[in-house]
């Protein structure tokens, strides 16, 4: 192999296996920054020794060992100006087993790293940034673009998160059985927030935001690959089913298109099938929770060939279960809308008005939009106008405002 070809091989290896080797080094060295440096040094060592010695049989394991060796050397040198590092160097050197780290352990390191990055100790926005950088391998600058923030803001968030984990001596491990449910909840929440962050503003002008959905789905795939947990499968199903509608959700001018009005031929059928399959698998386990139930609702919508063919009775039933598992006014509202489709607008309107009367969703735009829509369908046009006007006042984005202004205009003057 020529030197150029070897360099290209090493570069490809870095792209493909860099995140995995990094995760292994973070576990072995117990420090994000030391691991990043060791990763760099390991690839530098590969560039130096592989031309003569050839590519090792198991390059990933070689890189992990080389990285650990380099880290010990680095720490021993730096002990000259930071005495505290001497002890750390010897501890890591003593941990080193003579045999190469095995491939399965390296694979699981990514899972350990997700649990560490999504530790409940960290605020969700810190977990999201840390996960994107350390697990997904995104750069600080790319994360900043996706979150519409400046690079220094995201960089500080990441630095603080690492310091917090270090200070609390959070171990790099998959939690044991007793802790699993709560810790998995935190991980799934971070992945779901990432997805929503990308999905909520997925208009043509914010193309980079779509990257967040892609990364969230990749993390979801990683979780189901390494962990047999129904809710992780349910969340992957939910994300795939929602993401399948991406092309139909936004009109050419950036306005949101309601589910009922979407051109269903634009939906990604392959992705819907995959999402539905994960959802069914989670449902069969009988250990599912709110993500799986939301995925099941999304699947019922996705399976209807036209909006009019939607099985509303089944959707109401799923919302009933979801309300028992995770009661929330937003779920109540969604159920009320489904009832309005199953039993007619008057029935739905009674429920929506009862929810609004409690004052819990007073500033929630979709609540007023739902009330307006149900009033219009029930022929109560005066109230429909008032509710659309209220939604228009509360709306935060320009496309949303245009949407409500148009609905209001369509109703004509009172």
């Amino acid at each position: 192999m020529t030197e150029d070809a070897l360099r290209a091989r090493i570069e490809a290896l870095y792209q493909r296996d860099g995140p995995v080797v990094r995760a292994a080094l973070i576990r072995l060295l117990g420090d994000f920054d030391l691991a990043e440096e060791a990763l760099h040094d390991a690839f530098a060592a590969a560039l130096q020794t592989w031309p003569a010695a050839g590519i090792p049989e198991r390059p990933r394991a070689w890189l992990v060992s080389a990285g650990r060796f380099q880290a010990v050397e680095t720490l021993r040198r730096r002990a000259r100006f930071d005495a505290a590092l001497a002890e750390l160097a010897e501890r890591i050197a003593a941990d080193a087993r003579p045999e190469d780290p095995d491939e399965d352990a390296i694979e699981d390191d990514r899972l350990r790293l997700i649990f560490t990055c999504c530790h409940p100790l960290l605020p969700p926005e810190a977990s999201m940034a840390l996960t994107l950088r350390e697990v997904c391998g995104l750069t600080t600058e790319a994360i900043a673009r996706a979150f519409l923030a400046t690079a220094p803001t995201i960089a500080q968030r990441i630095v603080r998160a690492k310091a917090k984990l270090k200070e609390a001596r959070v171990p790099f491990e998959v939690p044991g059985r007793s802790e699993m449910a709560a810790r998995l909840d935190a991980v799934l929440r971070v992945v779901y927030l990432l997805f929503n962050e990308g999905y909520a503003a997925a208009s043509g002008t914010h193309l980079t935001r779509a990257d967040l959905c892609r990364e969230a789905i990749r993390l979801g795939r990683l979780l189901v690959e390494l962990l047999d947990e129904p809710e992780a499968q349910g969340l992957l199903g939910l994300m795939l089913l929602h993401d399948a509608r991406r092309a139909a959700r936004v009109a050419a001018d950036g306005r949101p298109v309601l589910l009922a009005d979407q051109d269903r031929s634009l939906w990604n059928r392959t992705q819907i099938e995959e999402g539905a399959a994960w959802t069914e698998r989670a449902l069969r386990s009988r250990r599912f929770g709110p993500y799986t139930l939301q995925a099941a609702i999304a699947a019922v919508h996705a399976e209807a060939e036209a909006a009019a063919a939607t099985d509303w009775a089944q959707i109401v039933g799923l919302y009933d279960v979801l309300l028992r598992v995770e009661p929330s006014p937003v779920v109540e509202l969604n159920r009320a809308v489904a009832v309005g489709m199953r039993d007619g607008p008057a029935a739905g309107l009674a429920l929506v008005e009862a929810i609004l009367a409690t004052g819990r969703l007073a500033d929630y735009v979709p609540a007023h939009a739902a009330r307006a829509d149900l009033c219009e369908r029930a022929g109560r046009l005066e109230e429909a106008r008032a509710a659309f006007a209220q939604a228009l006042r509360l709306a935060k984005s320009e496309p949303e405002r245009r949407f409500f202004a148009e609905r209001l205009a369509r109703l004509g003057p009172g």
Partner: protein
Amino acid sequence: MKYLCLAYGNQEKMASLSKEEFTALVERCKPMDEELRRSGHLLSVESLEWATTAVRSRNGKVVVTDGPFVETKEQVGGLFVIEARDLNEAIRIASLHPAAHLGEDLGWGIEIRPIADGCHQ
């Protein structure tokens, strides 16, 4: 990406050091400098003299005055350029520079600026 790292220090405080203190400081910096050079990320590194000259335009003419250009206690005393994957890696590498360690008493600190790639935006 390339990042310019500006090491700011306090000239007055540096001038108040005795010869022995200054030599001791330089000795302490050596292994850190060595680590920075070893990192494989360093493109260039310089220490600066304190004397400064300012060149600017006044009434359509180029005039020369004593610097510094901006009056502050801390002035640039060193600069280095690194190649890093992203800002967080740049922060990690810049942390090896002595100005990140010896700062508290002598007013040293580092400012990191990404070098604009191609055109300015």
